[in-house]
Subunit: 482 residues, 2 copies
């Protein structure tokens, strides 16, 4: 036991020593993923997949509440279909996997494994949309997609990844734009309320938008190491795809028109965001809303009469109250169990021993945000536990928000950007911008910050562009991107 | 309205005229699927996908209750990995899709899109299984797989299809065999209790088992046209894969051993089974347990005061009771709505009009199995509706069972098989068998029945093999296969 315990703690690299190594240690030791012989493709193990299932369940409910229906498109896109929208194919063709043979026969036309499904949805829309009565269509699918990345990391950048892609089509541009922003807000609400991750909401610059989009909106989160992570995107397409795919409908005045489209997605990358926002040197810290196990019951002096029975009783009581709870009645020592579930990020630990039972209490220990304390047994226990889960969520959110605020710097010159990042560590840089792409490129080149986003919440930091000194149009958020 | 109504009814080919055409008409008119430009790959539309989501929800619950955890494996298998188990590669290599390029680069090794994932699970097992403490592992995944079929039909045989594949690994052969049968029973329970489809449980013959399996168990259902459909399979692998992939564990006596494996799966084919078991000339008939909408409320004389309000009240009442219910308050005529929801297979229609409200009743019409009748409004209504949903299920199951019994023929000679099938129509043929593969081939060749299964419930029909006249070992079920 002691040996196991020691081994476990030893094997997680400290965050400050090597953040990248800490990250992959967590992924492996907490049994979230396992590598395979195909580079960039991973096994998502039960503990990791259960986090994704919780993310799916909550988001799927939010999508349904906003009127969306799930569908399933094929995974293959014929080369000619991918090529129909010029910008789109240019963006994606260099990074798709090509199927060239079915069994021993060479295919007449190559098929790519979908990197995203706009083209498939467009082909389908052209098939089923004829009149204004057929609009809008509000679709979503939960599938995996493939992008042949050179550099890969579990969850953050993999060749195959799981995601949802929403695709909607509307009679008017206004409706489509409203949908684009609605789903951006769904994502930011989800990140804050379910993942305890504060985000910056904004729009991508022209040079950085999705291939084929008129405008790309995004949410950006700041990781523990000060790097920025794009956590979700929502695209407004106007009628560009509709024109390329000849999707038309007859409006109420019997005129033929092109409808307007959107798409939006989040991926298993969110699990990477959870790890890097909340994790610490003891391991994972999971937001209660998506933790596979919200509570672990650890019996102390398990072999004393009545302890295991009481533990089982509490297990049943909390389960009945809808709490995701597990009882570890294995022969491992309580100390080993404490370290194990801490490493696995279980939000609340419940300890129960002979003396506790005598006193009619148990001990509740939050993974973060407070000291452990006693709680009365009896019918109020589920409420007490729920309240602690809420506390853990709030503490996680506050900590992440403070980290983001502490590492967000308003800068008025490129020298200042370089100096501040060096002195205070990586983070978000707020700086004014003239709107010129040349300045974007130059800031990136000189200071090394590549991620950029025009935040919804604009501030007036200075009069002039941080790069060229000409009058500024907007404030940008800059960061080093994952 | 009238035109629409007429059009809709006209467009479904009668079952007796052309069963295959009737089937594809249903798939399209009920908006289950839509074709794409990739042969054999379909769009599963919201109404079809919702059936699959209900199937997933129920089965996933049954898998969890039997101790299984969900995981996610990559979709790609390197050619060398697929080749590790000799029988397996021979079975699958001729029908896989090959990825040869990532972007513009040729891959060093071809990757196939998974036709099934035994090889990936084996690679993972070898990585994570070391000791008897690591066993068993009881895994499942919900994904899509690809098999490059020549002839394709929606749901029944498509190049990409959705499925679940369970994969388990155990210390002993006995445990693995127990699991194989346990999951076969889960499938047959599910088919009977949730899909109202009676099945024959049995084992495949040696010549017909899964590539790489020691034994393949299956459930077979009889469709309305008398053809057999394999609805699910459960495979026992022994330690063949473990040896090929060098999966070993240390047992309690410190001996190195190979573990034993199983796999089992059902697919979107089940939706095809639902259509062809229960459907009629008016359209789909959906089992209440998986119907996207269990009840449709159709207001009659909708514009009379109070009707729509009452309809909305009933909608809320039934929803609160956990019934999947929809209210159609569109301007279409009640007659059009009746035909539409009948075509879509909604199990129960609830009609409510001014006179009903006056009398404190509504009208409930089951899709099959009885006449429509009045039901009292008030707090008992959800119970009354639930009872009718149960009635519909029972009626569907009985009808399907009678069809199966009526079309199951005990035969003692090949001449009898040919004659009975000709006279009474396609169906299951029960016949004795000596166990010799040559006789299997000959029966198939002479009588045209290709599907065969050794049923769990054996009967003693005759002393001798239906083909060669030698002493019989077992009774086989024969059928023409989908």
């Amino acid at each position: 036991m002691a040996k196991n315990n020691q081994k476990m703690v030893e094997e997680i690299t400290a965050m400050d020593v090597d953040f990248a190594k800490w990250y992959t240690d967590i992924c492996k030791k907490a049994e979230l993923v396992s590598y395979t012989s195909v580079k960039g493709c991973m096994v998502i193990r039960p503990y990791g997949y259960a986090i994704w299932e919780n993310i799916q369940r909550i988001l799927d409910g939010m999508f349904r509440e906003t009127g969306h229906e799930n569908v399933n498109m094929p995974m293959f896109i014929p080369e000619s279909l991918l090529q129909k929208e010029k910008d789109h194919v240019e963006g994606f063709a260099p990074e798709v996997a090509w199927v060239t043979h079915g069994g021993s026969d060479k295919l007449e036309e190559r098929l790519c494994v979908r990197p995203t499904s706009e083209t498939l949805f467009c082909e389908h829309y052209a098939d089923i949309i004829h009149s204004y009565r057929d609009l809008p269509k509000l679709y979503n699918q939960w599938v995996s997609v493939v992008r042949w990345e050179k550099t890969t990391r579990p969850f953050l950048r993999s060749r195959e990844f799981l995601w949802q892609e929403g695709h909607t089509i509307h009679a008017t541009a206004d409706e489509a734009m409203e949908e684009t922003i609605r789903m951006l807000n769904v994502y930011s609400d989800f990140c804050e309320k379910s993942l305890a991750i504060p985000v910056v909401k904004g729009r991508k610059t022209e040079s950085d938008k999705f291939a084929g989009a008129v405008a790309t909106y995004c949410i950006e989160a700041l990781m523990h190491d000060g790097k920025a992570l794009q956590a979700g995107t929502s695209h407004y397409f106007g009628d560009g795809f509709a024109k390329a795919f000849e999707i038309e409908y007859t409006d109420k005045e019997n005129q033929r028109r092109n409808p307007h489209q959107t798409s939006w997605g989040v991926t298993t990358r969110l699990i990477g965001a959870i790890i890097m926002t909340h994790g610490d040197d003891n391991g994972l810290v999971l937001p209660p809303a998506v933790a596979p196990k919200q509570v672990v019951i650890v019996p102390v002096a398990m072999h004393k009469p009545g302890v295991l029975e009481k533990a089982q009783e509490l297990l049943a009581q909390l389960k009945d109250a809808g709490i995701r709870v597990v009882l570890d009645d294995s022969e491992n020592s309580p100390g080993w169990k404490f370290a194990e579930y801490e490493m696995k990020g279980v939000p609340v630990r419940l300890e129960i021993g002979p003396r506790d039972i005598e006193n009619g209490v148990c001990v509740l220990a939050p993974r973060v945000g407070g000291e452990k304390r006693t709680a009365a047994l009896g019918e109020t226990l589920p409420e007490t536990v729920q309240a602690m889960l809420c506390e853990v969520h709030d503490a996680m959110y506050q900590k992440a928000l403070e980290n983001m605020e502490k590492h967000t710097y308003a800068c008025t010159s490129m020298e200042e950007i370089t100096r501040v990042l060096k002195e205070k560590g990586d983070g978000f840089v707020k700086a004014m911008w003239c709107g010129d792409e040349a300045c974007e490129d130059k800031v990136k080149e000189v200071t090394g910050v590549g991620s950029r986003c025009i935040p919804e919440q604009q501030e007036h930091i200075a009069e002039t562009c941080v790069c060229c000194g000409k009058p500024a149009k907007q404030m940008l958020y800059w960061g080093k991107a994952y």
